[in-house]
């Protein structure tokens, strides 16, 4: 073991505070430091992951108070996998936005990377933490930096998007607090494992109240319909890499939190059905809304929401297969949707309104970016032999094993809608005449490396899904093993 | 054997007999004479019993029937039709107008003497000639065919330059392809 989970929270937070300081000394450092930090964290995450795969979860106690009293961080196969994914995506986003524009001023860059580090801190913290109030704190860290990042461009629309996000985010934190209050007032503990072990003591009415408020609060972050009004706006108006970070990092953390709550904290079977129903509705509404979008990133945002709905459905099956499918879907979605956001923002780089019709015929001028976007499109709609296919297959297999014919049919029908709008964009990119008034922007080298890395992963996972399925199986087994989690946390000395 | 004169004679005889009894007529209804064709063909006079029958296109026809006056405008078409017919082919001038212009002798837009433009084998006079006269004209043509004397086409071939000259006098804008034998 080369490090402890606490570093995942501490180092980026520290880096976030140090960035402005170092920036005074060496201006380039605001760009370099996050990279170094994230690279280190990635190495650390991979090492820890390997350790965890062999030795079981690491439970880190902060400030020496043992659970259930103290705050603890849990780096299990499940959370570790997500942390690794998030840190990796953070690195990709950093790489991409190293010089997003060719000449970025110092001030915006400083703020941007600072906020990005905060975002990663919060998200990683959400995944790692074993304490429900700590979760609240991390959510708030994430949210506040997300508000700021959404409003990063000084246009009026980004402020509007950010404000909507903020409104819903405040409600979310309010609900979360209420839920925490209910749980604490009933059980007198904030430790998740402890809550999970004592949940049977709680009165059902309070239990249901708590789960409703928790679910709503986390649902807002996890883009569940009808709580996701902020999402399309925020995705569309945030800078491209931030969109990728939302899709790949923030939402994943929120999903993790809600799933952890439903799987580990509560023992309500109705919650699973609720997940399926809500997930299905989210999927359908989002995909149908996406098909009529005129703005590229907004379309991607709706698609992202839809995918989250699908993840919810997969989690809602409650079987290990379902969890595996959901995790696979989350992984693929993180990779592919990031790829789409990253390449898509170069496709509409110079356009004011980011309209889909402005990508007409752009394939000739931005061959690699366009190709990667198309690759991402193919992958996300689940065309083999790309990564998305395997996750879709596992979702469907899990559904079939749970005897959910209707779910299979609906998912597939919605997939057809998904196919339609992605293919429309692909058609425009390659087979339409270019609009002369649209000027293209060639991606920088860093951005290209970032995108190509993601593209390569899409292909690798597509051709060789075994590259990740091993981890995913462990992670899903880990999530399903509620007793094991409680045991691991509470018996720690 | 084919070059043998006697056998050629026999072949000619048979062929001429066949041609004589199978006359497919392309009735070019240029003038008022066209009205005399139906009575000729239908039940009262029934030209078909002589083997005379209408042909649909010049490619299939043996006889070109110029029925009546021929305007300068129509001449071009008639020449065209005649040249599209397959050998052996015959022309029957029908009515006085084809002989000397008839009642249109001083018209500015009809041709007077058909023979200057197309090699006429048989003229049928009258204005109009009655079906009886038409039938007798066909009989005359049959006679000529049987004797091998209905060689207007050969005449046309031999004197093509002369005919062309006459034709071109009437038709100023000559757009037809030159007739290649």
């Amino acid at each position: 073991m080369v490090g402890t989970p606490v570093l995942f929270v501490a180092i980026p937070l520290l880096a976030a505070f140090l960035i402005p300081l170092f920036g005074m000394i060496w201006k380039e450092s605001v760009r370099v430091i996050p990279g170094i930090v994230l690279a280190y964290l990635l190495v650390l995450a991979i090492n820890l992951m390997n350790y965890v795969m062999v030795n079981g979860p690491i439970v880190e106690v902060i400030a020496g108070w043992a659970p259930p009293l103290g705050i603890n961080l849990v780096f299990s196969a499940f959370s570790g996998f997500l942390v690794t994914l998030m840190v990796f995506l953070g690195l990709i986003v950093w790489m991409y936005s190293y010089r997003f524009k060719r000449n970025v001023d110092f001030e915006p860059a400083k703020k941007y990377f600072l906020l990005l580090m905060m975002l990663i801190t919060g998200s990683v913290g959400m995944v790692l933490t074993g304490d429900i109030f700590n979760l609240f704190v991390f959510i708030e860290i994430t949210s506040i930096s997300a508000y700021a990042l959404t409003a990063f461009y000084t246009g009026r629309d980004s402020a509007e998007a950010s404000f909507k996000y903020l409104m819903l985010g405040s409600l979310a934190s309010a609900f979360l607090l209420i839920a925490i209050m209910i749980i604490y007032s009933q059980l007198g503990t904030l430790n998740m494992a402890d809550i999970g072990s004592k949940m049977h003591l709680m009165k059902p009415a309070y239990k249901i109240m708590a789960i409703i408020f928790l679910f709503t609060a986390l649902g807002i972050e996890a883009e569940i319909f009808p709580l996701n009004g902020w999402a399309p706006d925020a995705y569309a108006e945030a800078p491209g890499p931030v969109g990728a970070a939302f899709a790949g990092i923030v939402v994943k953390a929120a999903i993790y939190a809600s799933i952890r709550i439903i799987y580990t904290l509560f023992d309500l079977s109705g919650a699973y059905d609720l997940l399926i129903v809500i997930g299905m509705i989210t999927l359908i509404v989002a995909e149908t809304a996406a098909i009529r979008q005129e703005k590229l990133k907004r379309m991607l945002a709706y698609s992202s929401i839809g995918q989250m709905g699908l993840v919810m459905v997969a989690f809602g099956m409650g079987t290990e297969e379902g969890v595996f499918a959901a995790l696979f879907l989350m992984f693929n979605h993180a990779i592919i949707k990031s790829l789409l956001f990253l390449s898509g923002s170069y496709l509409v780089y110079n356009s004011k309104d980011k309209l889909i019709k402005e990508v007409n015929g752009i394939g000739k001028f931005l061959p690699i970016t366009s190709f990667l976007f198309v690759l991402g499109s193919f992958a996300i709609v689940g065309l083999p032999p790309f990564a998305g296919f395997w996750s879709k297959l596992s979702v469907l297999t899990a559904a079939a094993d749970s005897n959910m014919l209707l779910i299979i049919a609906l998912v597939l029908i919605v997939s057809i809608i998904e196919v339609v709008y992605y293919m429309r964009v692909v058609n425009r990119i390659y087979f339409f005449k270019k609009d002369e008034s649209v000027s293209t922007q060639r991606p920088t080298l860093n951005a290209l490396i970032a995108m190509i890395t993601l593209g390569a992963i899409v292909l690798i996972v597509g051709f060789y899904p075994d590259a990740v399925t091993g981890f995913l199986h462990r992670a899903s087994a880990d999530l399903m093993d509620k007793a094991g989690y409680i045991n691991d946390v509470l018996t720690l000395n | 054997m084919i070059n043998d004169k006697n056998s050629q004679k026999i072949v000619d005889f048979i062929q001429n007999w066949a041609r004589k009894h199978s006359i497919w007529v392309l009735a070019y209804g240029t003038g008022c004479g066209a009205i005399e064709i139906p009575p000729t063909m239908t039940s009262r006079y029934d030209a078909e019993r002589l083997g005379v029958r209408g042909a649909a296109t010049p490619r299939q026809a043996d006889v070109l029937l110029i029925t009546g006056y021929l305007t300068t405008k129509t001449l071009k078409r008639v020449i065209r039709v005649y040249e599209q017919m397959q050998d052996p082919k015959y022309v029957i001038g029908f009515g006085s107008c084809t002989i000397n212009g008839g009642m249109y002798y001083d018209s500015y837009n009809t041709i007077k003497v058909l023979d200057k433009y197309l090699p006429v084998d048989v003229y049928i006079n009258g204005c109009m000639p009655r079906p009886e006269a038409v039938l007798s004209g066909f009989a005359k043509l049959q006679e000529l065919i049987a004797q091998g004397k209905a060689n207007g086409a050969q005449k046309y071939k031999d004197n093509l330059d002369w005919y062309r000259e006459n034709q071109k006098k009437i038709i100023p804008n000559w757009v037809m392809p030159e007739y290649n034998w």
Binding site: L168, L171, F432, Y464 | Q84
Partner: protein, 616 residues
Amino acid sequence: METIFLIFILFLGGAIVTWMAGKLGNIVQDILFLATILVPSYLFYTNVATGYAIDFNVGGIELSWGINAFGWLFSLIVLGLGAFAAFYAVSFMKGKERRGAFYLNFILSIMAMLGILMSQDLISFFIFWEIMTWSSYIMVVYNGNDVQRIGIKYFVFSAIGAYAMLMAIVLIKSMTGSFMIESLISSYTSFSYDMQILIPVLLLTGFGVKAAIMPLHVWAPGAYSNAPMAYTSIFSGSLSKMGIYGMVIVFTTMLSYVPEGVWFRGVVAWLGGFTAVFGTLWAIKQDDAKKLLAYSSVAQLGYIIVGVAIGTPLAMMAGLFLAVMHAIFKGTLFMVVGAIERQTGTSNFTEVTGLIRKMPWTFVAALMSIIALAGIPPLGGFVGKWMLYESLITSDHYLLVIVIFFSSTAAFLYCYKFLFGFFLGQEEEEWAHVKEAPALMVVPMVILAGLTFLLGTYPGIILKPIANGMQTLGYGMTQGQLWDTSIILNEWGNQVVLQPILYAILGIFVFFVIFVTIKGYKNTRYVTTKDISSSGEVPLAHENLTFSQGFFQPFLRAVEPAMRRQIDKYYTAIANGLESLFDFTRRIYTGNGQTYAIFVIVFVVILLIFKNSIFG
């Protein structure tokens, strides 16, 4: 290394290398392209024997690749036609844009089709199926004409088919615990009644889309006509046969075990019959050669489906034989259209006329393929049709015979239209400059056209592999003599030896051609097509007297009631309705943050109200 892997790696690597090689020069790219098609084909036929199989494991899923005699039969269509089309494509694509992408998708399609034939498990079947779908999709939109309508339509229908198949696959997996086709077949009878119905329906939907069966065919005309012709020849020739391949497996294995199979057979056969009729009628109506051939493909696939669905040994043979023949002649015909389009710039009958003297070899290829298509005796199409009729009569599908015969007679109409529209009619000055297509395009066409003759004379050449394939599918050896030689012996004992008939036909033909030609040869002269008997008028150079507008107007007037309703329109209406609905759903996102906040509160309130029924 296993040869199968080598083949696929060669295909895949070759595809990518060819794609990238655009910078190295066109010649290099062409050679790479041809090598990528030919080398794996060579390896396949030399090193992969029937019965070869290999199992491996990807992502925790057992996969198995192998080839049986039935797949081998289709591999002839795929790789054989593919090789010819590849040579054609090299010349066809000369000087065109995005050749790399074309070559890439061409190779990928061929690889995917071979993969489908090699897949012994449903997952790799599906993977290759989808690779085939998207690579062909890219080809459909390749020219950029009307891609949002035609391309999306193609993809949506493909997706419907593929997802129906996927649903069947996951259901099968959950029931049998395995993705193997064999385990599906062996445990099919133990499924519940619902599943016994549902799974064939889903699978047949999936295959039916590719085979362009009646209600699912609407993508085909647009897609076939929109793709580059060099690709359409394998699109229509081989790719659609993959649907047939799947259907055959469903019919011969699963559906023959259950009593409901009879109904399936009847329904699908009748759908095939209707496909044939309406495909033909619409083909007659088309003025664009590509569209005409596209509808014709739909119709011809209808015959094949009828044969396959009836499923008696003779019918199956007929269907498979027609499948092979259709690959050959329709491949050729699309190549012909491609050649004409390349040389003249249009494929519209109303524009191009009188090419016979300019493109004689193309005409020969077109003529022979058309004769084969029409099913007229000397050439191969007849054998298939004949067997089809025999099988339909012997299996008591009398009305279906009439339907098929009607469509096959009506097919003469568009056959003639195709030949007349392009090659016959008046020669126009506008097309005086047209030259014969390059040798690289003509030679594949002519060879393929020659194949139709060869297979018409010696159908045993292809009937033997078909028989082998059918044995793999469980048809017994009892009818062995049926496909022993090129003698066709129908079930009622009428024996027709084809070769003497063909020789007689040829002999009579040659005799009369010579008679007509040399009689009075010296006095027979050639005249141009302007020298026609048109009431003495001389058509001027710019006057086109060719009859090409409203070619079969009287016929179409007669059948107009049947063609008044188009399935396509209903689909379009549904699609438009859905889009309007979706436009409505997205208005949920009003753009007002407060509304969203109210949504949240409402959500919570609803959950709180229904908490007992949800969590109770």
